[in-house]
Symmetry: C2
Subunit: 204 residues, 2 copies
């Protein structure tokens, strides 16, 4: 594992869960997720922080064995390039965001932000369990909303593919196979962390 090209090459030491998390496209099509393992993922998301403890995140699960119709509805909403690989994952999940506060139905400006926090915890829990997740923004929102009957004030954010990582060679699309082996890249720390004033890179 320690030589895997997707392990983050960090400038400063970080927890191994964060270092080892990445977003594969190749899933093992022959390996399902035990229900007890799946529940732990959502439990992790459940404990995320949120503004006013609003918890604006909702998860709609399509398990190819236990809820195949919804799995197919989510698959159908994906753009073709995502369908090409995501159909191998045993589970697809639509993440939706409650855009307004329950108390008074005014806009919750942190709704998307907090949903992102919940999913980030979910992805690390998955990493801890040896599971992998790739989130997709590449899907038809209206198709997802209609196909899954998502009611207002909820709004789809991403569709997640969840499963056990598979063989990159199983991927149909050339660039997807290549991407699976390419080291992860990020902006340098000084580009995202300023100290004292905007644009002044932190001394790293």
């Amino acid at each position: 594992m320690s030589s895997h090209p997707k392990i983050a090459q960090t400038d400063h030491t970080i927890h191994e869960l964060i270092q080892h998390r990445w977003s594969p496209r190749a899933f093992d099509a022959n390996r399902d997720i035990e229900r007890s393992d799946l529940l732990r993922l959502f439990e992790a998301a459940r404990w995320a922080p949120s503004s006013g403890n609003e918890q604006p995140w909702r998860f709609l699960l399509g398990d190819r064995r236990r809820s195949p119709q919804l799995f197919e509805a989510l698959l159908a909403a994906l753009v073709p390039k995502n369908q090409a690989w995501a159909r191998q994952a045993p589970v697809l999940v639509l993440v939706s965001v409650r855009l307004t506060l329950e108390q008074n139905e005014t806009v919750n400006p942190l709704a998307w932000y907090d949903a992102g926090q919940a999913v980030a915890l979910l992805t690390l829990q998955a990493t801890a369990q040896g599971l992998a997740i790739r989130q997709m923004a590449g899907f038809d929102r209206e198709k997802a909303r209609l196909g899954c009957a998502i009611p207002a004030p909820f709004e789809p954010s991403v569709i997640m593919a969840i499963g056990y990582a598979g063989d990159p060679e199983s991927l149909e699309i050339d660039t997807h196979r290549t991407a699976e082996q390419t080291p992860r890249q990020r902006r340098p720390l000084g580009e995202i962390v300023f100290e004292g004033a905007w644009g002044r890179p932190i001394d790293t």
Copy 2:
């Protein structure tokens, strides 16, 4: 630690980092954060996933010792109830979101969501290091934007207080002292996870 009221009482086993993360208001005012420890937090955020690898998160650091003017500017932007406790933290950080894509300056619908993911990783890294974080939406956005000269297309999302947890008795406001000892509450899992169709609770 295992009897601390803020450890999540989970229905399903989750990683201890996620279980132990919580958002205190009481910080140890006498304990600074070593610079090398602080850099690890941002490094963790850096490796978050984002749509198109856009990495729309930016962090503006005010360290009360090394960048006291910005620390004071951030403190001044907080609502009074947050100022009451946040002034004890050694570090305040303004999280900002790049609202448009760098490539073509069109709206990035996942910007807030992805920034939330980055901060969630940062909070878990903090937990791993024995640090604590509380995020605040309770601040004057215009005051923060002007006081810290945040340029478009960046938008402030939260201000984080970071430090080592302190004595709850040090908090000025009664409800804050109480909250520090109250068990964390979340919606039941069946309220946030549906299977097969919207509103159909997953069998937990």
